[in-house]
């Protein structure tokens, strides 16, 4: 077993467990903290895929910015622990789990019958070159310059929209 595979197993285990714990915790704050753990594990997985830039951006943007926003809103609103949808009907929990497992088995069947790795000839050197900031930055500022600028406009629109939606209505 290579080091890469061991790291993959560790991070995959953390990511999968924290995802399950996230949707099963009653308290919103604990759920948010498990989601941060999940994002950190994903960042490690990106590193095992040699995607350095995306791994760093994952920590900065997701675990840093977005989750701080979530925690901020949770602490601002202080929602009480929710009544679970399963309280009235405990059988529903098993139905939900069953349907989830069924769909998961279906996707797994597609993945392992389709065998995408047959058509791939992974090249470690090439994969390392592709994940660097240099390679991504060059593509982003040449081929994808217009989408990049549109993303900037999208962020501006989102900032203004969030301000207008969340501000107190002034009485006229």
């Amino acid at each position: 077993m290579s080091l890469n595979f061991i790291l993959f197993l560790i991070f995959a285990f953390i990511a999968a467990t924290s995802a399950v714990l996230m949707i099963t915790r009653k308290s919103a704050i604990i759920a948010a903290l498990f989601l941060i753990l999940n994002f950190a594990a994903l960042s490690g997985l990106y590193l095992t895929l040699n995607a350095q830039f995306i791994a760093v951006v994952q920590v900065i943007v997701y675990a840093g910015a977005i989750m701080v926003l979530f925690l901020f809103v949770i602490m601002l609103l202080r929602p009480s622990d929710e009544q679970s949808i399963f309280d009235d009907n405990p059988k529903l929990k098993w139905l939900a789990t069953f349907v989830g497992v069924l769909v998961f088995a279906q996707i797994l069947a597609i993945i392992f019958i389709g065998r995408p790795s047959d058509g791939l000839t992974p090249d470690l050197q090439r994969s390392i070159e592709v994940g660097t900031i240099e390679a991504i930055g060059r593509e982003l500022y040449t081929t994808y310059l217009i989408p990049f600028q549109s993303a900037a406009f999208l962020l501006l629109a989102a900032t203004i929209g969030a301000l207008i939606l969340a501000k107190k209505k002034l009485e006229d």
Binding site: A19, L49, L124
Partner: protein, 100 residues
């Protein structure tokens, strides 16, 4: 390198967990977090294929997905704040004025 099927399976698992979260939770904020989880599992698939094919386009697309996710989180949380201000709740069962 590790067979890509492992990454795809993990991504599928996280996506299903996100779907179950969206369908079974009642707290609007946790529903939002489940959506973020689904976005991230799709990102994992994109980065895996990008790395195995030696093509940076997948990672550039992930970059744009993160931009959209940031915008979506900001707008979504603003909507939740204004809903809470009007309804004093974030329980999606009680926010049903658009329900037919």
């Amino acid at each position: 390198m590790i067979p890509i099927e492992y990454y795809l399976s993990l991504s599928a698992f996280m996506f299903i967990v996100g779907v179950v979260g969206v369908l079974t939770r009642r707290n609007a904020i946790i529903v939002f977090m489940s959506i973020e989880l689904m976005l991230n599992s799709a990102n994992l698939t994109l980065v895996a294929f990008s790395s195995y094919l030696g093509n940076p386009i997948g990672q550039i697309f992930v970059f744009f997905v993160m931009t959209v996710a940031a915008a979506e989180a900001a707008i979504g949380l603003a909507i939740i704040i204004s809903l809470f201000r009007n309804k004093k709740t974030v329980n999606i069962d009680e926010i049903n004025i658009l329900k037919w």
